[in-house]
Structure formats: structure tokens, C-alpha cells
């Protein structure tokens, strides 16, 4: 009884998060970065002001956690070609110079914080590895090379 009472607000909060926020972000990689940014670096707890105000704080936290894990698995499972396209869309949607973002991401690897806690170590490593490769491909494409068509 108590479990079903608790599950409904989490589902409602999750649906609300998808409808109001995540659907407005143009790619899964962007959704992943956004969801990771709602997690506190020190405590690892998720927080979203609007969602917590509309639903219970715990329901909002759980909805963010579930959404983060789901989107992470979606991004980690895609092919390298699709990830390059995702990264391309993400870079175009950020209001920074794509060349600058690629260089910064290669140096700092900020996407490491996008990995949810308690995720399988191989999946986490695959995600990081694929992002490194996708960044190297975009950098390769950005570099001027007269011999390339």
C-alpha cells in the first residue's frame, strides 16, 4: 500500500520532467548533461527547484535519478557514428564556439561527471571512451586539410 502511494508521485514527477524540461532539449547527450547538472557534486543528491515545488522533494529526486540512468544508458548504447551526430547537435545548441568546446572537453573531460552513481564499470568506461573518440573525430573534421574532400 505505502509503496504504491509513493510510486505514483515519482511517475508523475518523471512524466512532468520529460514533458516540461527534457523534451525541449534537442539531443540525448544534452539531456544527459542537463540531468547530471541537477546532481550535487558533494552529496550526489539530485535537486530541481520547480519539480520539488510541484511534487514532493523525494519524488522529484527519484524522478531525476531514474531519468539520469535511463538517458545515460541510451547514450552509452549508441554507435560511435550516432554519438558523433549527437555531439555535433549538442555543440551547435550550446552558444559557444564548437572548436573551443571540443578543445576544452578533450582537455578537462567534464563529461565524466555525467556518469550516474552505481552504474556498471564497463558501461561507464564505454561511455567515456566513446566520447573521447567522438571528440577526436570532430577535432579531425574541424582541422583544415587540403587533401581531404
Amino acid at each position: 500500500m505505502s509503496a504504491s502511494v509513493k510510486l505514483v508521485p515519482v511517475q508523475d514527477a518523471y512524466d512532468d520532467l520529460l514533458r516540461r524540461t527534457l523534451s525541449k532539449i534537442p539531443c540525448n547527450l544534452g539531456r544527459l548533461i542537463y540531468l547530471a547538472s541537477t546532481r550535487d557534486y558533494n552529496s550526489g543528491a539530485y535537486h530541481h527547484e520547480g519539480l520539488a515545488a510541484r511534487f514532493h522533494e523525494d519524488a522529484a529526486r527519484k524522478a531525476l535519478e531514474v531519468a539520469h540512468r535511463q538517458v545515460f544508458h541510451l547514450v552509452a548504447a549508441i554507435s560511435l557514428e550516432d554519438l558523433v551526430s549527437e555531439l555535433d547537435v549538442y555543440l551547435k545548441s550550446s552558444h559557444e564556439s564548437p572548436e573551443e568546446v571540443v578543445r576544452t572537453w578533450q582537455k578537462l573531460e567534464p563529461y565524466r561527471i555525467a556518469v550516474p552513481t552505481e552504474v556498471n564499470a564497463t558501461i561507464a568506461r564505454l561511455f567515456i571512451s566513446n566520447l573521447r573518440l567522438a571528440l577526436a573525430i570532430l577535432r579531425f573534421r574541424q582541422e583544415p586539410n587540403p587533401s581531404r574532400p
Partner: protein, 173 residues
């Protein structure tokens, strides 16, 4: 005399393969050892790597994509990265099957009605899996994960079977 030459040839071939393997794996070992601590720390509550991801790690689609750029640098980078991920998966699988077998031995020690045939079957599966993991560990650096997809998927299926068998035995005893 021919036998001695044969033995020498086999010995030299083995030595060559070991040296080749050591060379291929040296760079990946550093990367792998960084993940060892994480792996051993998390192994108790480790979420198993789903088949979808094992298939992704070992398939050739990404290699074909990277080959289109005709850049040796990108291809080498891809090989290093993908080999490291594949080796981590092998290490994770080895840890998982060791854990299952350890749990099984504990259950068997407490059990009063051991079935020799069931025990022999579980041990045979365990030995087969350890052998497959050993083969994968050596071969990933030599031929690349893309040529070992079938073996990896078979090892994953066998690990799941072993885990289920152990769970069934545990609940029955």
C-alpha cells in the same frame, strides 16, 4: 630428431605469441589497472553488463565507421580505447564468475544432499568460462575485440546460466 625440431618450433611460436601479446597489452594494462580498484570496490553491488553493451563493445560497426576517415591516428586511438573497454569487461566477467563460484562453494559446504552430477556440471561450466576469459584476455590485444564477438557473447550467456543455476540451487537448499 624431427620430434625435437617440432617441440622447438612450438616453443618458439609460443614465445613469439607471448611477446606479441605482452607488447599489445602493455599500454592497455595501465588503463585497466586504474579501473581495478573501482571494480573490486563495486563488485559486490555490481550491475551486470547487459548483452546489448557486450555486443556493442565487440561489434565491427564502429571500426568500419572510424576506417572511413583514413586516419592512422584515429584508427590507433580507436583500437587502444576499444581494447581497454573489452579487457575491462573480461576482467569484470572473471570477477563475477569467481563470485558466483565462491557463493556456490559456500552453499555446497552447508548442504547435506549434494548431487555429484549437478556439481560436476557447474564445475565444468566454471572451468569452461575461466578458459574462455583467458582466451579473450590474450586474444583481444592480438586480433582485436571485433573478431571475438561470438566468443564474448557465448561467455556472457554462459555466465548468466551459471548465475541462474547457482540461484536455483541456493533457493532449493
Amino acid at each position: 630428431m624431427t620430434g625435437a625440431y617440432g617441440a622447438l618450433f612450438v616453443g618458439a611460436l609460443l614465445l613469439f605469441l607471448i611477446l606479441l601479446w605482452l607488447r599489445a597489452n602493455l599500454a592497455q594494462r595501465d588503463d585497466l589497472s586504474n579501473h581495478q580498484a573501482l571494480l573490486s570496490h563495486e563488485c559486490e553491488n555490481l550491475e551486470a553488463c547487459p548483452q546489448e553493451f557486450v555486443s556493442r563493445i565487440f561489434e565491427a560497426e564502429d571500426l568500419k565507421f572510424i576506417s572511413r576517415f583514413e586516419s592512422p591516428h584515429l584508427q590507433n586511438f580507436f583500437r587502444r580505447e576499444r581494447n581497454a573497454v573489452a579487457l575491462l569487461w573480461v576482467q569484470e566477467t572473471t570477477t563475477a564468475i569467481r563470485g558466483i563460484m565462491h557463493q556456490h562453494l559456500e552453499t555446497s559446504r552447508r548442504s547435506k544432499d549434494l548431487h555429484v552430477a549437478t556439481e560436476a556440471k557447474i564445475f565444468a561450466q566454471y572451468a569452461q568460462l575461466r578458459f574462455l576469459c583467458g582466451i579473450l584476455f590474450v586474444s583481444i590485444g592480438l586480433v582485436g575485440p571485433q573478431k571475438l564477438r561470438g566468443v564474448a557473447l557465448y561467455a556472457q550467456e554462459l555466465t548468466q546460466q551459471l548465475g541462474h543455476a547457482q540461484l536455483e540451487l541456493d533457493s532449493a537448499r
